[in-house]
């Protein structure tokens, strides 16, 4: 029966072989550390614009940086206002972005936590201080020459507020190019903020009263700058940029925006108490020196190269001809995994790389199961093709079951890792799971195609040379 199946599938095998070869060439090209044309990376439509690159994403432990886990610090009996965590996340993101560092990540974790990851930070103390800052309202003067298009609500700007340490800011080129706004008044000058409705339009607004000192500064400034634009900035994000129509001596101002009554109340509270919509406490904080990361990358590459080389040599020596087919499939396995890491992308961490390397060791298991079956069939006197086909079909249930067991483990590990922001655990689970799935393809489809191709041509020749298939003479 197997013999007949084989004949019918001969054309299919050739087509598969061609498809696999094409896949291999494309994958090697994309994984290789070559410069790739721009249009190629722009094809990664599932990733946000600006993040479409064909580079590996390295986790904090491999590139250095800080991770801060903030938790809502509520009084007993106090409850989270819906949306408060989202607002808090947005505010923190603005602050962190204002540091001008590459690829910061600010995410909500579970219901009451926010995790902030800033890779490659040189001054962790300042970054942490920035995150912990309370919500800051500023009245700022736009620098001369700034176009009115850039003065729209939502734009993030740089201000002179509390600017004593400029080292961090000058370290990033993109930030030094953005203009600097002069801070006239800030949160400390605020006495009271409350939500109300505009008396004529009845649109919800936030009204603010300044302290005595603030009132004086505000009066002086508005008197000398009639006709100029003054911006209100909350946590470095422009709220509105009204034109000063007259001097304001009474220390009262109104913030207009497209507020609902609810959002006006929320903003007023934020300004009033100078805080985030929900008080946050640092629950854990980790800082990793950037040089430590690059040392880890080097060591992982070396360990991986040695480990893989030994596996390749073992398979070749022990299974001879079949081992060669398995090695080719394994090489494709490695390349496909790396390709998937680049495409999705998967953020690589040290345990993630360990999970990948381990999955390579496990990946050959499917081949070993099949090859041992083939040997058994050959010893029973089956022809080469029959032995190959029944090896693959009989080993399938074992391969399937053990891979399902591994995938189940990965799911549990992933859930465990998600429960408390252990990105290291998640990294291991993801690479191991991806490896298991890709392995089902390479170990079964690819190895089988390679073996069918060669057995089709060399059957009689190989049949007379059992040692080429790892069968001993009699003692085996």
């Amino acid at each position: 029966m197997e013999k007949r199946t084989y004949d019918r599938n001969e054309g299919l095998t050739r087509n598969r072989f061609i498809a696999i070869s094409v896949l291999a060439v494309v994958a090697i090209y994309l994984v290789a550390p070559l410069p790739h044309p721009e249009w190629l990376s722009s094809l990664l439509f599932w990733r946000p614009e600006g993040m479409r690159t064909l580079d590996f994403q390295l986790g904090l432990d491999l590139r250095g940086g800080i991770q801060v886990l903030l938790v809502a610090d509520l009084e007993p009996g106090q409850e989270l206002v819906p949306g408060a965590m989202g607002t808090a996340r947005k505010i923190i993101e603005n602050r962190v972005n204002a540091l001008g560092l590459t690829e910061p990540v600010v995410q909500i974790q579970g219901t009451d936590r926010i995790v902030v990851e800033i890779p490659g930070v040189d001054n962790p103390a300042q970054a942490v201080a920035t995150i912990r800052e309370t919500s800051l309202l500023e009245f700022v003067e736009p620098p001369s020459g700034v176009s009115s298009q850039s003065l729209v609500a939502g734009n993030v700007v740089r201000t002179t507020y509390a600017m004593t340490d400029t080292t961090l800011i000058t370290s990033s080129e993109s930030v030094t190019q953005t203009p600097l706004f002069t801070t006239i008044l800030a949160g400390g000058d605020l006495e009271r903020a409350y939500a109300t409705r505009n008396s004529t339009t009845s649109e919800p607004v936030v009204a603010i009263n300044f302290t005595k000192a603030g009132t004086r500064t505000f009066a002086d400034y508005t008197a000398t700058h009639v006709g100029k634009v003054l911006c209100m900035v909350l946590d470095k994000e422009i709220l509105s940029c009204p034109r000063i129509s007259t001097s304001i001596p009474d220390g009262r101002a109104v913030i207009k925006g497209n507020y609902t009554m609810q959002s006006a109340v929320q903003l007023a509270l934020q300004l009033q108490y100078g805080a985030l919509p929900v008080p946050l406490r640092i629950e854990s904080y980790e800082s990793i020196g950037p040089s430590l990361g690059s040392i880890s990358v080097e060591k992982s590459i070396r360990a991986g190269a040695v480990g893989l080389a030994v596996v390749f040599i073992f398979m070749l020596l022990y299974y001879r001809f079949n081992g060669l087919a398995a090695d080719l499939a394994l090489a494709l396995y490695v390349v496909l995994n790396l390709l998937v890491y680049k495409l999705i992308p998967v953020t690589l961490t040290l345990p993630g790389i360990a999970g990948f390397l381990l999955s390579v060791g496990m990946a050959v298991d499917a081949n070993i199961l099949v090859f041992e079956r083939m040997k058994e069939e050959l010893r029973r006197g089956a022809t080469l093709n029959r032995a190959a086909e029944s090896g693959f079909s009989r080993a399938w249930t074992s391969v399937r079951d053990s891979n399902i067991a591994t995938l189940l483990t990965c799911v549990i590990l992933y859930m465990f890792g998600s429960a408390f922001a252990a990105s290291l655990v998640k990294g291991f689970a993801i690479t191991l799971a991806l490896g298991t799935l890709i392995n089902l393809f390479t170990a079964i489809v690819v190895t089988r195609t390679l073996i069918r191709m060669v057995f089709g041509v060399l059957e009689t020749w190989l049949q007379d040379r059992p040692w080429l298939l790892g069968l001993g003479r009699g003692n085996d």
Binding site: G304, A354, D401
Partner: protein
């Protein structure tokens, strides 16, 4: 053909000794470290940990002095790696993020400049630690339950499928005890601490505990209808003999990779890889020498007084 069942007394004795040694290591650790059967890292216990790389050689007493000034008299100060690495690990009670910076500045001033590009530190609130420990216990239980259910389901057509699940869980528990014992021993000898990665390794060992058994069980499932005249014991032995080469070849490949990481990989993941390596070796042993003989013993005992109902 090696008879795994006839040798069960030997295997059970060896297993018993391994379990006793593991428990002894856990107890010794508990005696040495204030009731901690495994030394608990800041991931779980909460607290602050620094790994500091000084530019020039530093004195332990100076480092201790700075921490004492910050009311951290109980700080544990250890040198990491070779002496010329100038790298020190310090564990203290929980400090807040501002205090970390002050301590670092004081160390810069009093002990010597710290190379921050080669240093790391982490702080974890004690409450987080308690939550993580709870999550970990949950993860281990869920993993065991899932494995049991999965085996039971896969072998539902075999007589008495629940037995396959139960002996798998027994083998798995032995693996877990041996892995814990090994880690406790390394905690005593080298100060290894149980952290999130250790738990990852433990969960992986649990997951992989079924790998070899699935293959043996699969072969038993296949051999039962083929060899109706043979006793269950003979079928099991045949199945083990037919699959043992594959088990060893697979384990060997996984070990090649793990030993390479142990020898050449980064220091931070060595405990993680080592516990997985031990777990894998013990997994191969418990599959063949604990789970399989137990399955046969159970089968035979159930035939003695009356036929068991499945």
């Amino acid at each position: 053909m090696t008879n795994f069942v006839q040798r069960r007394k030997l295997f059970l004795t060896i297993t018993g000794i391994l379990i006793l040694l593991s428990l002894a290591a856990l107890v010794a650790s508990a005696v040495l470290f204030q009731g901690q059967a495994l030394r608990i890292s800041t991931d779980f216990a909460g607290g602050t940990m620094f790994v500091l790389h000084f530019v020039k050689p530093a004195l332990e007493s100076d480092i201790r002095g700075v921490f004492a000034d910050h009311d951290q008299t109980g700080a544990i100060v250890q040198q990491l790696g070779a002496v010329e690495d100038n790298t020190w690990q310090v564990r203290t009670r929980f400090t807040d993020a501002d205090e970390v910076e002050q301590i670092l500045e004081d160390l810069d001033a009093t002990v010597g400049t710290i190379d921050r590009r080669l240093s790391n530190w982490s702080i974890v609130e004690p409450t987080v630690g308690a939550q993580v420990a709870k999550q970990a216990a949950l993860a281990v239980s869920v993993a065991s339950a899932v494995v049991l259910t999965f085996i039971w389901y896969s072998f539902r057509r075999v007589p008495n499928p629940i037995r396959y699940g139960v002996v798998t869980i027994v083998a798995m528990l032995v693996n877990v005890v041996i892995s814990l014992g090994f880690y406790a021993l390394m905690g005593i000898l080298h100060g290894w601490e149980a952290d999130a990665l250790f738990l990852t390794a433990l969960l992986t060992v649990i997951g992989f505990s079924v790998q070899d058994l699935i293959v043996v069980f699969d072969r038993i499932r296949e051999n039962i209808p083929r060899h109706r005249s043979e006793s269950f014991e003979m079928i099991v032995n045949r199945s083990v003999a037919e699959t043992v080469v594959r088990s060893l070849a697979t384990q060997l490949n996984a070990m090649f990779v793990m030993v390479a990481i142990l020898l050449f990989g980064g220091a931070t993941i060595k405990p993680f890889i080592a516990v997985m390596l031990i777990g894998m070796v013990s997994e191969t042993y418990t599959s063949l020498c604990v789970a399989v003989p137990l399955l046969v013993v159970w089968e035979e005992h159930s035939h003695l007084p009356r036929r068991a109902t499945a």
